[in-house]
Amino acid sequence: MTDAPLLEVRNLTRRYKLPRQSLLRAPPVLTALEGAAFSLCAGETLGVVGESGSGKSTLARLIMAFERPDEGEVLFQRRDLHGLSSGELRRLRRGFQMVFQDPFGSLNPRRRIGWSIAEPLRASGETEHLGYRVAEALTQVGLHSADAGKYPHEFSGGQRQRIAIARAIITRPALLVADEAVSALDVSIQAQILNLLMDLQDDLGLGMVFISHDLAVVGSVCDRVLVLQHGKTLESGAALDVLRAPKHPYTKTLLKAAGVRP
């Protein structure tokens, strides 16, 4: 681990205007995320826990620079993503990649998976050895290089999530944002994908933001945890401390819901 943080999020706030209820009144505003702040080093995993409406997906979209915050900064390798020109941002994108929740929706159904996996490389202007790089990424996630010629519907949910991970690591990024990356999978497949993410992290020294509603899953892969509710940070700290001695009653509820043995 190096001293300079890989990712630093400062006072991140995002508000959405809701549809007008009446012509005369100003449209209501929803604060999806308020003052979120953390920093992440290479090789480290930060878990973001929250349920629908907690702002965890908004946080992911802001880190990925899909949308702009109303306040605050996202510093990736000490550069503010939201202060860059679109060209600079596009060049920097190969450094941070994302894995999505729905393994059925995150791959273009009309493209062979080799094409989809190579997309980040082509986007950053690389044209050489694409086939080799795709084969390498497929092997890294436990699939065969021959799978590159197949279409997404020929794979199971767990395999598709592996493909999505292959696409995310092909540019050899420094940061991976995983938004509910195992939530749509069966329990037995979940563990496989979580282990794969940990293997890749060890091999590639990835920093990871792991977003989930499931405290047990977060607890099994994350070094530190941030608990969000209605856009506000309820508590944060080392994963073991939060899980063993939650301070906030809401965290206790989440823990209760995640426990197998009553």
């Binding site: 899909f66 060049r91 994108r93 994302m98 273009n108 980040p120 986007a123």
Partner: protein, 272 residues
């Protein structure tokens, strides 16, 4: 293998019939459609003139075939031209969003509010009536239709995760529109194009009927119909033949479009 819907099959048969006849007319017609022969005018169907001749002694079958070709060409050009402009505008609106999207869609509303016939009459008034102007008018009304369908379908695809993944990969909005959006909305656009093809055939016939489309001596179902109208009592069959052709072609493309929609979007088929 799933069974194909009946409307698709019937539409496909009618469309291949009409398109086949139009294609055949390129290389062969039983007579020259333009050649007049006053002595044999109003001839009854015979071995030489299968459906008889018209008031100027021209062979009806030959004219119908030439008119089919005219009709297909007009519809094809109009749908391709209007469709590609409309699809491009729709993709642009969807990709850029914000004021561009608002602007394009308000323009589309304006286009919808403007009747095609009125536009064609306006073009004819300014540039004189011609088939080209008719094609332009029909293309023009197709633009907002395709722009709307494209934008609505494209907006859905923009919310998909694989589009977000492409953005995360660092791809630009236009590259995403080309590689991800267009292939996934192609089915909807093809369905719309087939239906608009039927509308274009009907519009061409209407414009030619009003004298704003195909000019003599070019053959057109609409013009045949308008010429036959004055002879309704003398030779009603001359109005019936082009009329049947128009019905066949419009029905064929309409059914084919509906059938394609049922195949590509089973949800809509069940809802009906």
């Amino acid at each position: 293998m799933r069974r194909l819907p009946a409307n698709f099959l019937l539409g496909a048969v009618l469309v291949s019939l009409v398109v086949g006849i139009a294609a055949l007319s390129l290389v062969w017609t039983p007579h020259d459609p333009q050649t007049m022969s006053i002595p044999t005018k109003f001839a009854s169907p015979s071995a030489i003139h299968w459906l008889g001749t018209d008031q100027l002694g021209r062979d009806v079958v030959a004219q119908l075939m030439a008119a089919a070709r005219n009709s297909m060409t007009v519809a094809l050009v109009a749908v391709l031209l209007g469709g590609s402009i409309g699809v491009a505008l729709g993709l642009l609106a969807s990709a850029l969003g914000g004021w561009v999207e608002d602007g394009v869609m308000r323009l589309a509303d304006l286009g919808f509010a403007f009747p095609a016939l009125l536009f064609a009459i306006m073009l004819a008034a300014v540039f004189g009536p011609s088939l080209t102007n008719a094609v332009l008018a029909i293309s023009f009304i197709n633009i907002p239709i395709f722009a709307r369908v494209t934008r609505a379908s494209a907006n859905q695809i923009w919310t998909r995760d694989y589009v977000a993944a492409a953005r995360a990969a660092g791809r630009g909005r236009f590259a995403i529109s080309r590689d991800h959006i267009l292939p996934n909305i192609a089915a909807a656009i093809i369905v719309q194009a087939t239906i608009e093809f039927a509308v274009a055939i009907l519009a061409e016939a209407a414009l030619s009927y009003l004298g704003l489309g195909a000019q003599p001596p070019a053959s057109s179902w609409g013009r045949m119909l308008s010429e036959a109208q004055t002879l309704m009592y003398l030779a009603p069959q001359l109005a019936i033949y082009p009329g049947l052709c128009i019905v066949t072609a419009v029905l064929g493309f309409g059914l084919l479009g509906d059938g394609l929609r049922d195949i590509t979007d089973p949800r809509l088929a069940r809802a009906r």
